[in-house]
């Protein structure tokens, strides 16, 4: 018997590899898929993408100057992040990976708070305990960013499940990368979401790379969306550099989840145009993207062209927006650099709700002990 010829021997999952898109490279919308976003929202998304890119550039410069210790940005992935965040309702929650700080800002996190986090100073919400870019933003319904890959995924499922149990209309969206699909929590999270039909969106930013591992090396599945089959979770591939497509698909998934239709797995097909982080030098493992091609695909340019076609954005507005974020950043950076480091005592706080005896003792030992000559 030859397996090749047996029914069932060809992997199932032969559904469309098609990638949903709305905008072409010149910003023309496909009427069939156009979510018909109101222009105010489209402008808001564009502005946020613009801001995010400007912030990333500035922070990377600060890192190179040795003024901050680390930065991980999202160059090239702004549409995937901001248009999806914009499609979530206020009551919904985001469980981010580490590239989605822009989404927290979109939802109202103050720039100063973010910059304080980049400096890990006394005004930082996590009190300088975490690395830069690991923000926490409860008021923005944005969980605490963590470094271990994938762990937020099961948490997003549990949070949505809690809402479902309590009959609250809350949808959660969790962001993660192509590398994270190999993690234990992706497997468990997708499985639990399928079994309990939790209102959860799995937002996979397939940006082509997990540090130096290409998305083709990461798995032998035909597409990442195909992984939904293993869990009975409906999956869809979307052009992640097309803000309107991202918005439309995400919004539809939110509505389905909110109506009791369960989870959706969305593969946002995008590309990490920059380095993995400030610690990475991608020339060791990949060719730089052919620049004209990259420009064509650029999510900002495509949305800008769309807005231009509607006369909804101008060069003057562009300049004003850029100047605004530049000066806002300068103010925030100056303030952050002037702020003191977190107090030494704070290092022992919030391990538990109440400080146990051994930490009271250690705190006293540390606070009253000698100081290092090394700066922090």
């Amino acid at each position: 018997m030859n397996l090749e010829t047996k029914p069932g021997s060809i992997p199932p999952g032969t559904a469309s590899k098609k990638i949903v898109g709305v905008l072409d490279f010149d910003g023309r919308a496909d009427p069939e898929t156009d979510p018909k976003l109101d222009l105010a929202t489209a402008r808001r998304i564009y502005e946020a993408m613009l801001r995010t890119r400007a912030i990333d550039a500035r922070l990377m410069r600060l890192q190179r100057q040795g003024r901050i210790g680390f930065h991980v940005g999202c160059e090239g992935e702004e549409a995937a992040i901001l248009a999806s965040a914009a499609a979530m309702r206020d009551q919904d929650w985001l469980f981010p990976c580490y590239r989605e700080v822009g989404a927290a800002l979109y939802r109202g996190l103050s720039l100063q708070t973010y910059i304080d986090n980049m400096y890990g100073n006394a005004n930082d919400i996590p009190k300088g305990r975490q690395m830069p870019d690991h923000v926490t933003a409860r008021a923005q319904h944005f969980s605490s960013i963590t470094a271990p890959i994938g762990t937020q995924i099961t948490q997003a499922v549990g949070f949505a499940w809690a809402a479902k149990i309590r009959k609250q209309d809350v949808v959660t969206a969790t962001y993660f990368g192509d590398g994270a699909t190999s993690s234990n929590d992706f497997h468990a999270g997708m499985n639990f979401a399928g079994v309990y039909q939790t209102p959860t969106l799995f937002l996979l930013r397939n940006n082509g790379w997990a540090i130096s591992i290409s998305s083709e090396q990461q798995t032998h599945s035909r597409t990442y969306a195909d992984k939904g089959v293993a869990y009975g979770v409906p999956a869809i591939r979307v052009d992640g550099n097309d803000a309107l497509a991202v918005y439309g698909v995400t919004r539809a998934a939110v509505e389905r989840a909110s109506a009791g239709g369960g989870p959706t797995f969305i593969e946002l097909v995008t590309y990490r145009t920059g380095a993995h982080s400030s610690s990475d030098d991608p020339t060791a493992y990949r060719e730089t993207m052919e620049s004209e091609e990259a420009q064509k695909r650029d999510p900002l340019r495509r949305l800008r062209r769309y807005l231009d076609r509607q006369n909804a954005w101008s060069d003057a507005e562009q300049t004003a927006a850029e100047e605004k974020i530049t000066s806002e950043l300068s103010v925030c950076i100056e303030k952050a650099e002037a702020a003191p480091a977190p107090s030494i005592a704070s290092m022992f706080e919030e391990v538990f709700e109440d400080m146990p005896a051994h930490l009271v003792e250690q705190q006293a030992e540390c606070v009253n002990g000698p100081r290092t000559r090394k700066r922090h």
Partner: protein
């Protein structure tokens, strides 16, 4: 007052708190329809429904990861890990996430949940149904670890743990589950966490134990009494944050300490308590503080009674320590 064994006392505590607080939900492998492989959750799915007593797929990663999400979402999850030996697939969520959520979010988020974990030997479980994995969770800042030795404490400690606003690992000694019955009050009472209990007073040696080894400690104390050695037995009850004060006070009185645990010796809680005693009561020590523990081998099947630090091994340690 009703006579209860530890299984029924824990079941009673869960039932009480689920009636009292509708944020409490249970989840785990086989906890629902079956009522748990040890029947600790028997009858609860029937009373509270499938939304609050949840049979899960076979994934400790998923159980703890989603329980953390539930806790962040305002519930009070009480996940069960079927055996302590199977907690390892959940270690990343416990060590990297649950323990650090409050700290790393500057207090914006907390993970109030109680992970129920049957632990320990004495049921002929071999490598994978006998271990006592408290040490690694004690080593991880941000987790509490509780381990009752009897039905009364089990109920009071469990209610306190569920009401605690930090993540608690609640270790249930399987060997005690059905080993004894005692009077357990109906309704509500709590036992404060991080408070050890002096269960037997004595002048000559302090003997620290918990969980299933407490009975062995008491048996050993009785045995050496015949030789005129009066042993003060302390039941830690909460393993972390540990009640250093009670142990130190006792050792200052007796000048001697023996500590007993089932887990392997190296880097166990026994080592920690010896070090703490050296830090807090060194000048009172009249003999080397001593450990009687599981050996530094995997937990064996046939020879488990030679592996466990049972009374026959505690007795000589007490005598040598007393006579040092």
């Amino acid at each position: 007052m009703t006579q209860m064994n530890m299984v029924s006392a824990i079941n009673d505590a869960l039932r009480f708190e689920m009636r009292n607080d509708d944020r409490v939900v249970l989840l785990g492998e086989d906890v629902g329809k079956l009522g748990g492989v040890f029947r600790v959750t028997a009858g609860l799915q029937k009373e509270f429904g499938e939304d609050r007593v949840i049979d899960t797929p076979l994934s400790e990663t998923g159980i703890i990861g989603t329980a953390i999400g539930m806790a962040l979402g305002g519930l009070r999850p009480v996940p069960e890990i079927q055996f302590g030996d199977f907690i390892y697939p959940a270690v990343d969520q416990l060590v990297s996430e649950a323990s650090k959520y409050r700290y790393r979010s500057g207090g914006e988020f907390t993970c109030p949940m109680v992970v129920r974990v049957p632990v320990g030997g004495g049921i002929k479980g071999g490598h994978y149904h006998s271990q006592s994995p408290e040490s690694m969770f004690i080593h991880t800042a941000g987790l509490k670890v509780v381990c009752p030795s009897n039905p009364f404490d089990a109920k009071g400690l469990l209610l306190a743990s569920i009401r605690d606003n930090d993540p608690v690992l609640f270790f249930e000694p399987k060997r005690v589950y059905r080993a004894l019955k005692m009077d357990v009050p109906e309704g509500e009472y709590t036992i404060e966490l991080s408070k050890a209990k002096v269960v037997r007073e004595g002048e000559h040696v302090t003997l620290v134990a918990w969980g299933a080894m407490l009975l062995e400690a008491i048996a050993a104390a009785e045995e050496v009494k015949e030789q005129g050695i009066e042993v003060e037995v302390i039941d830690l009850r909460t393993l972390w944050p540990v009640d250093t004060e009670t142990v130190v006070a006792s050792v200052k009185k007796t000048g001697r300490m023996v500590i007993v645990h089932e887990a392997a010796k190296a880097c166990g809680l026994g080592a920690e308590m010896v070090a703490q005693i050296c830090e807090h009561a060194f000048l009172h020590l009249q003999a080397p503080p001593r450990r009687v523990t599981g050996w530094d081998t995997p937990f064996p099947y046939t020879l488990e009674n030679e592996y466990l630090p049972l009374a026959h091994r505690i007795v000589p340690a007490l005598i040598e320590t007393a006579k040092f």
